[in-house]
Amino acid sequence: MRRRPGIGGLQTAAAARDQYRLLGENVAKLRTDLMKEQLATFRSQLEEFARKHKNDIRKNPTFRAQFHEMCAKVGVDPLASNKGFWAELLGIGDFYYELGVQIVEICLATRSHNGGLINLQELCMLLRQKRKTDREAVSEDDCLRAISKLKILGSGFEVISVGKRKLVRSVPTELNKDHNEILELAQAQGYVTVDEVEGRLSWTSGRATDALDTLLDEGLAMIDDGHKDGKRRYWFPCVSSISSSVGADI
């Protein structure tokens, strides 16, 4: 016989719901506790690891990069704040802030020469020269990390990839695809000619000269009419540092 709904039935249903909710809450709490415990364990393990390998992290750029990678995987950013236990533990925040300041200095100092675009490798080299007093090595990875922190300042620091190389931009120049392709082409010799741009990229001469003129105006290129073949060359200080250009032309 089918029971008709009555007050008792409703009460039973409500009680059951309460029971389920209670149980659910319990399970959730258990899970959270477990999670918290795991996190605490993990954190202490990570701290222990960091403490144990403190010197390696500070001195060895490869190790440092791997440590960063590990932290990123578990969602910890040791650079997120200058306070907190990471900074206290490693002094690693200061390290990157210092790098950041030095990178800004180098970019400003070389801006009139390269128009505010500098090869990451050259930047690293100049950075090492600048820091020669302390023995801690600086890797390109460190540079990139320090630059990514500079972005927060909104000063227009950015890393762009041109071909295989990375360039660091410190002025808000907009480079379009054409400009990038020219820069990429220039990486081989440090310079390009209009003919090369037309030939290699299959562009019309108008397109080539337009793009080259813009790069000139932006201070990213310099003309060279001195070669004996009489063809104008467009040099790009940002892809070939002055110091390494000697070999490029002989």
Partner: protein, 179 residues
């Protein structure tokens, strides 16, 4: 690093575009500044007083990268020095340029120091003695360009520190100091 004798050349000297006058203003200003510094620095260390535009000059070409400055570029860099008071054209055609790595005022100060160091406060010297005498040996005055020396002496004469007197020929022009 490339060298000219014992002179250390700056890195831009090996970068070909620096030998072509740049059309974009900012880039050109930087280029001119680098060349001005280089010319003054080189002339000072090598004790060079006059640059002739048409003549060979070690800074005007770099055989390593096969580049040399055009006449126009040479003139532009030297003119920039002239505008700054660090050089003067010696002729109307702008072919010869006097390089003042010390300004005339600075040369005058050097002469005064030289006079005091040698106890010549009320002594007499000929121009040639100042330029090549034993007293000036080892000082910056040794071998000084005659035009520059005369200008500095006239400045001092104007200030009443000395009197220039003429002999029978230019060879025995002299000065009487009264410092």
């Amino acid at each position: 690093m490339q060298k000219l004798g014992d002179f250390k050349l700056p890195q831009f000297f090996n970068y070909p575009p620096y030998f072509t006058l740049q059309p974009v203003r900012d880039t050109r200003e930087k280029q001119v500044q680098l060349w001005k510094d280089l010319i003054l620095d080189y002339c000072k260390t090598q004790h060079i007083f006059v640059i002739e535009l048409e003549e060979e000059f070690p800074l005007f070409s770099n055989p390593v990268i096969e580049r040399s400055l055009s006449h126009e570029a040479r003139k532009a860099f030297l003119s920039a020095l002239v505008t700054e008071g660090r050089a003067e054209w010696l002729d109307k055609g702008h072919r010869k340029c006097l390089i003042l790595w010390h300004r005339i005022q600075d040369w005058a100060d050097i002469i005064l120091r030289f006079v005091k160091d040698n106890g010549l406060e009320d002594g007499v010297m000929t121009i040639e003695e100042i330029r090549s005498g034993i007293e000036s040996r080892g000082t910056e005055l040794h071998g000084i360009d005659r035009t520059i020396l005369m200008r500095a002496l006239k400045l001092l004469e104007h200030k009443g520190k000395l009197a220039i007197f003429k002999g029978t020929s230019t060879d025995d022009e002299g000065v009487k100091f009264s410092v």
